[in-house]
Structure formats: C-alpha cells, structure tokens
Amino acid sequence: MKIPKTILLIAVVCLAHTAYSQDSKATKTEVKAKQIETKEVQKDKKEVLKSDIEEQKEALKQENKEEKGNIQEPTKAKVEQDHARGDGHGHEGHNHAVGEGHGKMGSRDVPIDAATEAPGSPEERIEHHQERANQVAERQANMDYKMQEAERKLEEKFAKNEISKEEYMIKKEELSQAKLKREQLEQKEMMHQEKLKSLKQSPAPAEEVK
C-alpha cells in the first residue's frame, strides 16, 4: 500500500495538533486548580494576619485599661477570703525550700527556635514542628509551675502583711491576666497543631513530594 506523502504529512500534522490541544487543555485546568489553591493559601495567610491584628488591638486595649488604672478595688469580703486562703499556704509547705530560686528559671529553659530554622525537606520540616510541639508542651508546664509559685508567694506575703492590700490586688490581677493569656496561647497552639496534622494528612505528604 502506498500512501501519498501529502496525506501522510496532513495526518501527522493532525495528530500533533490533537496532542497539543489536549495538552493545553490539561494545562489550563491545572492552572485554574492552582489558582484556586493559591487563593486558599492566601486566605490562610490573611487569617493569620487578621488574628495578629486582633491580638494587637486586644493588647492595646489592655494597655489602655492598665494606664487608666482600671483595676477594681476589692471588696472586703473577697480580700478576707483571699487572705484566709493565703494563710493556709504558709503551713502546707508547698516546696518552700525551692522558694526564691525560681526567678532563675528563665524564659529560655527550653530553647524554641524550631520554626525559625526551617530545614529543607518536607519530612524534616514536619519533624521539626513535632519537636517544637513537644518543647511547647514542656514550656507550658514550666509556665504553669512558675505561675503557681508566684501565686503561692503572693498569698504568703499578703498573709504575713509584707505587702499592702492594693499591691496584693494588683499582682493578683496581673497573675490572672497572665493565666488568661496562657490559656489563649494554649488554644492557639492546639489550632496550630490541628493545621499541621491536616497538612500531614493532605494529598501531598512528605513522601510523595520527595
């Protein structure tokens, strides 16, 4: 069978065109999908920024509040109640021997440079975040301990009349603010871990990307 060269050429051109159009169609679909996903990532970034701004606002509000000296004067009953609670501490012996030394437990007891280092491969990055999560848990426990110690010391001093009622209430308020902040941070950390978990379970895990 002899096929004329022209027909053969036309057939080849037709095939090449079909392949090219299929390819470009697929590329267009991919570009669209990528655009959608990029939008999602941008949305995530926006959320982070939004929460950041809200926090700053909250901090400013708090600062203003403190500046105005908006710490409420305690009722007599409450002070007596707190005082009574404070009395108990002196005799129960909550790690008194450790006492003053806690000031040395600095904020850098557990080094957290996890995210700043950001190692290369996806597996390493995920592993890094897991290590960071463990360190964060340790730090949180450490902070809890320090707050308990601070509370105990405060009650003790107040019970011994070493500080004034006003000073006691101010410190107590500061401590409760710190506790609140600590709880908020814990919740944020949990949400952050959830995000990391969902990223690990996403269709492009570390092994596949590698």
Binding site: A19, A26, E30, T116, R125, H129, A178
Partner: protein
Amino acid sequence: MGGMLLILSASMASCNAEEKKADEEKAKQEQMFKEKMDVIDTESQKLDQEMDSLDEKIDELLNDI
C-alpha cells in the same frame, strides 16, 4: 508503513503529554505543600514570640513578688 508511522507518532505524542502532565501535577503539589508549610512556619514563629513575651512577663511577676 504509513499506518505504522501514524500509530507511532500518535503514541509518542500521547506519552509526552501524559508525562508532562504528571510532572506538572507533581510540581504543583510540591509548591502547594511548600506554601502551606510556610504558613505553618510563620504561625509557629508568631506563637513562639507570644510565648516568649508571656514567659518573660511571668518571670518578672515571680521576681517582683
């Protein structure tokens, strides 16, 4: 001869297109993962900073009392 040539060129074109598509898909997934990971990194940095400042504040409180 002509038919064979046709089949060969068609299969080659199809193979190339599929390979290209797979490569692009892989690159896209990699890019997506990287972007998401970057968001996580930024977030964890922010959380660490917050934790640092809270930790400092607690230390100050503990030392002041």
